[in-house]
Symmetry: C2
Subunit: 386 residues, 2 copies
């Protein structure tokens, strides 16, 4: 297997793009990534696109071909493949691109993610997102994602010492980071009171515990490491690419407060890279809800079970902390266009490792991305190094 | 890159499975493939699943995880990835499995395809299938797949010498083959008159020119060639895996009667394998409509443009002809559960190359599979050898 490097990244602003179509969102992100990589379209060997549910959000399947076409790659008949794993679709698309280059089958590959969620109403969106859980045993019984993560939060808070204020601090920190990120959907700072006084969504989760409905797209370009210097002076190496599955339904898990797929994918990524936790300088985790960030920090092994709330309250995961988490603002503040999120995490890590993260810059040479589908039925973990 | 071999295949009966759920269909095909390969679940390293539109057909996304779970692979947290390219989803899932093994990243990988189409009405199905075309520029204008392929047929018949009777002969041949295939949806023989007297769907295409709405699943197991003999005495080698894209909308093509993506993927597959047309003993092509088989035979280079109608009428593509096409019965008679079709093609070729095709057995050492998404925006071509 060949070593793989990222040579370019691009991302649209995340938000409610009423005037921009699904296909235009992608084209913008792709063009930014190609420009950043200094690669022209005719050199691209393959495309992998992460997308959760364009079939339901915009009544369009066959996303790979659509995007190859609108990106101007149909002329060369460039292979283009859509990958779907609910909210982990982006991370998986990146992983497939890495595998394609590592195999020697392709040289210059674009991995992208896109979702256009605001063409339908919020109620419809929530139902569409519920198709990431077990439709027959969860969705038909009325469970939505806020409800499922509320069950995780209740179970967690019953068993471990996590206060409501500590949980709110996850959102406060992520909004602080989002305020420093020009592509973030929410660039406003909030306080613990903002979270505690926001409307209840599914007890104990309130509005500011939840990531928003977002339109957006992100793209990155990967090549064999030994060709990276043809394109850039600052390639970012892919040190590990790991993926794990778990039961689709929450009620079938061994323990609903521990994402075993996160534990498994994290261990595999550390084993692949030969790195230890102390080597990781920053982490982008999948904070679709505040409780998800708490669980992720622990399940990836950055602290013991039950300690992540205090860690967050103590500022350890803040921009200036020992292990900055979600410097992009995370899903909470940067926004969560479900298929694009996993690629945006790679975008953020590459920006940080290159020292191009502006007001949210941290001192980092190695970063980790953690992307989750559903309530943890798919988890993808990548480690990147400058 | 490592050489890759297929060591096991499984397929459900194709048809209207009112009493079997989406997940049960897959589990059945997967179990058959594992039994055939002599592999137990705990040895599987990864899973790739082709599925077009479970999000719309059964309101379920996150298919990779769902299937890993119901196949009993969640316990080991086996990575599972859904791949979507409309009706080419199965072929692409096989290709991703081949890449994963070729890369050295995984050893024992299952590639599967599944679609459960009869949980919604036929009208809804037709609309869902239209999401494989350009929704904004074709679907919203009222174009359905029969309509799009009728345009291809009209253009083709205007320019090339193809009679209505020759076109019907494609369906007659495929029903003859389907009658010899125990998994086929339609096992009845028909005549040219059956086709010509069937109801008009979209002029000139009649009911018996169209593949049906089908439920079904298929699965195959791939491993590195150098490990294949651990599992089977009759491994089937993957000699080529090629993929190409084209514009999603038919009206943007250079020529609507020639699928340039088929031409490109076919040439790439021949180049990869070092084989010539005379080396290919049988072909499974994507006959979603009779006209599609005519175009495929020509665009893959088995005859010149305009000759495939006569070739078919002369029996060259029949079971006992020089180049048997769609020995399985094709999409027309075997049925077309859209995400499963590409894997069923591999199933058929492996069955033939092993000499296990029963009443439809042909003399074949090398076979080709041709799987199309939409009206040719994605094409996947594989060559397999005994």
């Amino acid at each position: 297997m060949r070593d793989v490097a990222v040579i370019g990244v691009g991302c649209t602003e995340f938000g409610e793009h009423w005037g921009t179509s699904f296909r235009d969102l992608f084209v913008k992100a792709g063009a930014l990534a190609l420009e950043d990589a200094g690669v022209t379209g005719e050199k691209i060997d393959a495309l992998y696109v992460g997308n959760m549910s364009a079939g339901r959000f915009v009544e369009q399947e066959h996303i790979g071909a659509l995007i190859a076409d609108y990106a101007g790659l149909a002329t060369n008949h460039v292979p283009s493949t859509r990958v779907e794993a609910a909210c982990a679709s982006g991370g998986l698309a990146f992983r497939q691109a890495v595998i394609a280059v590592a195999s020697g089958m392709e040289d210059i590959v674009v991995a992208a993610g896109v979702e256009k969620m605001t063409d339908v109403g919020t109620g419809a969106s929530v139902d569409m997102l519920a198709s990431a859980a077990d439709r027959e045993w969860e969705g038909f019984a009325g469970a939505t994602f806020p409800g499922l993560y509320a069950m995780i939060a209740n179970d967690y808070m019953h068993r471990y010492p996590l206060t409501r204020e500590q949980l709110a601090q996850v959102a406060v920190k992520n909004h602080e980071n989002g305020a420093r990120n020009p592509i973030a959907q929410f660039q406003n700072r909030i306080t613990v009171d903002t979270v505690l006084n926001s409307s209840l969504v599914a007890d104990p989760l309130r509005l500011f515990d939840c990531s928003p409905i977002t339109d957006g797209a992100a793209a990155v370009v990967v090549v064999p490491l030994d060709r990276a210097r043809e394109f850039t002076d600052s390639p970012v190496r892919v040190l590990a690419s790991a993926q794990a599955s778990d039961t689709i339904a929450l009620h079938d898990r061994r323990d609903i407060s521990t994402m075993d797929a996160t534990v498994a994918a994290g261990k595999r990524a550390f084993a692949q890279s030969g790195l230890a936790h102390k080597d990781i300088d920053m982490v982008e985790v999948h904070d679709c809800f505040t409780i998800a960030e708490i669980c992720a920090i622990e399940d990836l092994g950055f602290c013991k079970k039950g300690e992540a709330g205090k860690l967050t309250a103590d500022g350890v995961t803040a921009l200036n902390g020992d292990i900055p988490v979600n410097t992009s603002g995370g899903l909470k503040a940067c926004g969560h266009p479900v298929g694009a999120t996993g690629i945006k995490q790679i975008y953020e890590i590459v920006s940080q490792l290159r020292g191009e993260a502006g007001a949210r810059q941290v001192d980092a040479e190695i970063g980790m991305a953690h992307n989750v589908g559903g309530t943890g039925a798919t988890v993808v973990v990548h480690i990147l190094g400058a």
